[in-house]
């Protein structure tokens, strides 16, 4: 089942002349049990923010649901304490 679904768009895309990106994404926090999500650790949280300081969605970062949930609360806590910006400075 999974194979069929995965293959079909690949064929279509190839015909359209586009490359298909099927990079396997793994949740970073599942892969490396050592790093825990901490609102005090601004450096790690920054990895999961765009240049505009928006939280990077799960479909892009590849985080699992559980860790993404923890990450968002951590980022929001850090934002409140001004460890991480809500947005870039607007001039």
């Amino acid at each position: 089942m999974v194979d069929v679904i995965a293959k079909r768009p690949a064929k279509k895309r190839r015909r359209a002349g586009r490359k298909m990106f099927s990079r396997h994404k793994v949740c970073r926090f599942c892969a490396d049990k050592e790093i825990d999500i901490d609102y005090k650790d601004a450096k790690t949280l920054r990895i999961f923010l765009t240049e505009r300081c928006k939280i990077i969605p799960r479909r892009i970062s590849g985080n699992c649901a559980r860790h993404q949930r923890r990450l968002t609360t951590a980022i929001k806590r850090a934002r409140h304490l001004a460890l991480v910006p809500y947005t870039t400075a607007h001039v």
Binding site: Y39, K40, A42, R77, R79, H80, L81, A82, L83, V84, P85, Y86, A89
Partner: protein
């Protein structure tokens, strides 16, 4: 008992007496509600990610304590009333600390480690500043040498 983590940001230009006074007030609440103080960590003066009350920097402190939960309301009330507090955040760190005494001992160890790390960071920063100062002392001479001929060339072009 529950373990709470409380972070607060004091404005950078507060008078030197203010900081210990605020620490003391928080600790007093914990003691009054028969909680246990665990540790206090000084994160130092950090740059704020955005301006708060026109301040660019803030002095961050973290305090951990064991308690029932009644302390939080009172501490937050104190923080709200104080104009020198820019931000505060209370987080439940552990819902059920079964063995209070071991946690107290552990926390003391943690605090010692943090103090050591802080000292190291401080030493590193002092060393870096020293190096920068030295570089500054060395640079101006070479900078002038580089720039002066170029300016002269520009002037000639214009004339």
């Amino acid at each position: 008992m529950r373990e709470y983590e409380f972070v607060y940001v004091i404005q950078p230009d507060a008078t030197p007496e203010r900081e210990p006074e605020l620490h003391q007030r928080i600790d007093q609440v914990v003691v009054d509600q028969s909680g246990r103080f665990l540790l206090r960590d000084d994160w130092g003066k950090r740059r704020l990610a955005y301006e708060i009350k026109k301040f660019q920097k803030g002095h961050y402190f973290q305090v951990n304590f064991l308690g029932s939960g009644k302390e939080i309301g009172e501490i937050e009330r104190l923080m709200r009333l104080d104009a020198d507090i820019l931000r505060y955040l209370s987080v439940l760190a552990n819902d059920e600390v079964a063995d209070v005494e071991t946690r107290v001992v552990e926390a003391a160890k943690q605090a010692a480690e943090q103090a050591q790390r802080r000292a190291e960071r401080e030493a590193e920063r002092a060393a870096r500043e020293e190096r920068e100062k030295e570089r500054e002392r060395g640079l101006p001479v070479s900078d002038d040498d580089d720039e002066e001929p170029r300016f002269r060339a520009d002037d000639e072009d214009e004339e």
